[in-house]
Symmetry: C2
Amino acid sequence: MTERPDSPRSRRERPAKPALSREGIVAAAVELLRAEGLRKVTMRRLAQELDTGPASLYVYVRNTDELHAAVLDELLGTVGPAPREGSWRDRLEQVLTAYTMMLFEHPTLARAALTARPSGPNYLNLIETLLALLDEGGVPPAQAAWGVDMLLQLATAQAAEHSEQDASPTHQDDWDALVGALRNASPRTHPHIAATVGVLLSGPPRARMSWAFQTLINGIERTAVPE
Amino acid sequence: MTERPDSPRSRRERPAKPALSREGIVAAAVELLRAEGLRKVTMRRLAQELDTGPASLYVYVRNTDELHAAVLDELLGTVGPAPREGSWRDRLEQVLTAYTMMLFEHPTLARAALTARPSGPNYLNLIETLLALLDEGGVPPAQAAWGVDMLLQLATAQAAEHSEQDASPTHQDDWDALVGALRNASPRTHPHIAATVGVLLSGPPRARMSWAFQTLINGIERTAVPE
DNA sequence: ACCTGAACACCGTTCAAGT
DNA sequence: ACCTGAACACCGTTCAAGT
């Protein structure tokens, strides 16, 4: 299951030397992300892809983090608007799930998103959608406002953590080590772990994700913001 | 406000060439983290600190991620046991806050913790403590089990995101850009953002963190796990 | 003004060769 | 067996110099 670059030049036939521009750079970065993953979206590699030296990119992009944030906002456009059917709760979960799924495909991007917050139009639209749904559900505006932050954080963290894509051997080993440690926990020193280890590790990821969103929504509904 | 290595050899006088061992390596990594931050905890730099070549470390540590996970578990020992005073809710929040604060000092480590889960004894103890407190609060075991995962995820994500330490100019600029974008959101296209922008950005970080923990605890208390 | 070659100061990881 | 020098294949970012 190795990665295919798909085709080094897609979209158009790439004229000999397209003029540099921020949009062009970001577009090339997205293309590169799709083809080879974020780990390859480096200044040097991107410059190579654009037939120039790395220094040239710094005219349009402050640094690597900013580049990644721009890529994220671009991908956010993929998520699409809220569905029209179902309860506000279901629709809220659907939007969050769609956002999470998009990030699942690019775990490294999710990790970046946790720190470098995007501020592009697509991110704003997402926030607006979430606020509107919470409002529709009768959640007081203050709780909705603080809650949106948590919902996005949860979605991002889920993606950064559980990403199935990231089947790197190390990741798997870490997980196995944790599972082993939990299973072997002594009932004497760690009674609660021993008693609950079955549930601790149970449930398909989808079910846990759904439960997580509902749990957080329930909390947001019921927890007043300090005045 | 530049970083001081404090003193290249601390603790003991460092004999000419201490024998390599996993513990020695991890200890040196923690020392290096404290002195210069996780960004400097690289295989090469660590090897240099230990007077050897980078290849030698690979005998004891699988790779950089595993090294970071080991460092995290080591720091977890710092967090200490649950307090004895106060309601289970307060104590739960205190433990989570202590954990978060520890991670706040090392944002990069928090980011790493999101993916490379530790499985050392200190991590197990933390899980046990959280389970015990939820149990004391009468939260059904299944909800507590899934909830612990979320609580740790939230704490980690908070640290990775809001870390005040990470006052890197880029981070600040990103944030300013987002604030600007929210403030300028048109009431026509983004009515909910426009109406709520005050609260969206309000509140001291501590208050928001506390609210976030309480919100999640409330949700966990009230949301049944699918059978 | 805009662009970039070349350099600086780093990385992780592997492996053949040494002790 | 255990250890490691040296190499491979990369990084981000800066800046003096060119057009």
